[in-house]
Symmetry: C2
Subunit: 399 residues, 2 copies
């Protein structure tokens, strides 16, 4: 299988658009996104684990269950429509209904997502008034506008599209804060022309999301709204893909590539981020334990501020490993900073100069490897540093 | 029982001192502390839950077990002597030995603590050279110097002393970052002239620490070093105190008062703190669940930055409650901000003006009450906001 990234974002049989309907304060900034499959597609979704959810979450879940086919995703930024009471549910249904009507499809063929400020009533009329124009603007090249329509504090729009054989897999995503691993904690909309059944598609999505979107964190926060949605419309005309087959593996590989690329773009654009940091925890007894330590490291304020300060203060790394709630053997611990050994057999490696470490810390990409030497499981967690700008962005956001 | 705070810090039968031995870069800043009981005392301790610990932790634990009596606490700031390998253990033992020798007491009658940067070898000679002078400076009035000798990023030294009947309970503490609830995550040294047996003392300490030092958090970080130590020397000559008796309750009450006052001082002095925030979670099924939600709220970066920004963005509170890993009933949730109802029966309370909420957010003391309406358990968690200064302090600390 030969996978190549495409420059022009198109997925056969899919149209997309993005426009400004007035939800965002700044005029002309896109805040409404539509993705449409010209033929009935199958779809799968993964949703936030937060118990306080926007009605977009149960409504999209229900639509996925109720209908064998999916045709469209309608999404807005500028307002999460979360914790907005019964009115929020009505508003969400109104958006779905208006989309279904304008596209002449069934209500349950529409999935929906929102992102933005929580607990503010949705200006639903602005959305429903915008939908006919959004439908008119649908085009095979509309993905870039669609990617812009879901941005919140993102500084850049995020897209990725790949091809192997006749199969194209593309996706757009948004997210730069409120990002915590182990669940779908951002909006990502993926589309492929692959022919595949709904059940196998769901399985492929989980396989691709677990080591990618579920392994990133910016601030340890889990949103009320976020989801990953994937549609496949069968336009490639390939032989049906069965779980476990080579065709399935190829698709999962392409899908994982797209998810990982998009997930990394979220971390790179993390609120106030100046570094991209990979924690690789190996030698764990279980993958879950490796993930738990990786997550603890990636969410440690002291580790994150040391990364921002470009300070090779590896004592903070050790302290975070020791407080992750996973039993470890301190005397076996090994730590490497961008391949330079810092700790071996639980002891500081001698002869490593502070200046060489400081040089490494000045890099944009930092890799910190922890080997517990207790088992064979490993996991990678991806994060950014914590800077003044994270505080500024989040102290100033909204009201 | 009539409890009064004393202005002059003295605990009958105890002497204390603090001096600069040269561990801290700035000359003349105190970094070495000694507390001494003129007669054999009983002692109890609570220690960090971090698995990566400074040798001060096992050495103090062992001394508490090995000896029925305790006479002294020797502590340094400027260096945590953590993750310093076998040399760190030797250094720690050398400090204890030098203290025992200078005071002419047994090695196991000495407890020891360190705080400061992790993974840097201890300049043990500076400490052992300073100890004779530190012993010479011991005085009943030396507590203020002792409190200064354990400061790290603390802006102020922290003391509290109370009296009821003939019994005096006093304590000093340090800590402003690396503070996370549910364990002793700072240094606190407590002393009383009460006559009490060692086992009952240990129980009283746990009762006093659980709702105080164990319920504060600054940044969710658990140190490698921290401990709460309590000595009681019997000089009050009271009748022996039995667990559960009125005398026991009075003592626990006084001890809790001192611990709470000191714990609050840590939060007020939290790195970069501009607010003191109390999360009261009630109506939970168990106290543990209430604590878990309180801790999630208190460690949420989005909640903490909203507090710093004086932004009544209560959607972030709701989102944090929903992601604490505790099953809740969203439709029963109630939220109050300094007694102003924000959410009732899971819905926003109408008629609360944004400007009145903003006015509350400008206060120094913010109280956020969450009622889950699912049970009878409750817990309070105390924290501060997250400001630019937290990032500055922790990006610049050490190297």
């Amino acid at each position: 299988m030969k996978l190549k990234e495409l420059k022009n974002f198109k997925v056969p049989g899919f149209l997309a658009s993005g426009m400004a309907c007035g939800l965002k304060k700044k005029e002309g900034i896109r805040d409404l996104t539509l993705i449409y499959s010209e033929v009935p597609a199958v779809a799968a979704g993964m949703f936030t684990q937060n118990q306080m959810v926007s009605p977009t979450v149960p409504i999209s879940r229900k639509a996925l269950k109720a209908s064998a086919t999916t045709r469209a995703i309608i999404a807005n930024s500028g307002n999460a429509n979360a914790f907005t009471g019964p009115q929020g549910v009505k508003d969400c249904k109104a958006v779905v209904a208006a989309t279904a009507k304008a596209l002449d499809i069934q209500v349950n063929e529409v999935l929906t997502a929102s992102t933005g400020v929580i607990s503010v009533p949705l200006a639903v009329n602005k959305i429903t008034a915008g939908i006919p124009s959004l439908v008119n603007q649908l085009s095979p090249d509309g993905w870039i506008h669609a990617a812009e329509g879901i941005m919140t504090t993102d500084l850049v729009s995020k897209t990725c599209v790949v091809q192997y054989d006749d199969i194209v897999v593309g996706g757009i995503t948004k997210g730069s804060g409120m990002i915590q691993p182990n669940m779908a904690t951002m909006l990502a909309f993926l589309a492929s022309n692959i022919r595949i059944d709904k059940r196998t598609l769901r399985r492929a999505l989980k396989e691709a999301v677990d080591p990618t979107f579920n392994c990133i964190t910016v601030d340890g926060e889990t949103s009320t709204n976020d989801m990953v949605l994937l549609m496949a419309n069968g336009q490639a005309g390939n032989a049906p893909v069965k779980a476990g087959s080579q065709g399935y593996k190829d698709f999962v590989s392409a899908l994982t590539h797209v998810c990982k690329t998009l997930a990394f773009k979220i971390v790179e654009d993390g609120e106030g981020a100046t570094k991209f940091v990979t924690f690789k925890v190996s030698g764990a007894k279980t993958r879950k334990q490796a993930e738990q330590i990786g997550k603890r490291l990636a969410n440690s304020l002291l580790v994150k501020t040391a990364l921002f300060g470009e300070d090779p203060n590896w004592g903070r790394i050790i302290a975070a490993v020791g407080s992750a709630g996973v039993p470890i053997l301190p005397e076996k611990l090994e730590v490497l900073l961008n391949e330079t050994p810092l700790v071996k057999n639980g002891q500081q490696v001698k002869g490593v100069s502070q200046s060489s470490l400081q040089k490494i810390m000045k890099k944009k990409q930092i890799g910190i490897a922890i080997d517990l030497h207790m088992g064979k499981a490993s996991a990678e967690t991806y994060t950014c540093d914590l800077s003044y700008d994270y505080v500024r962005i989040n102290a100033e956001y909204t009201t």
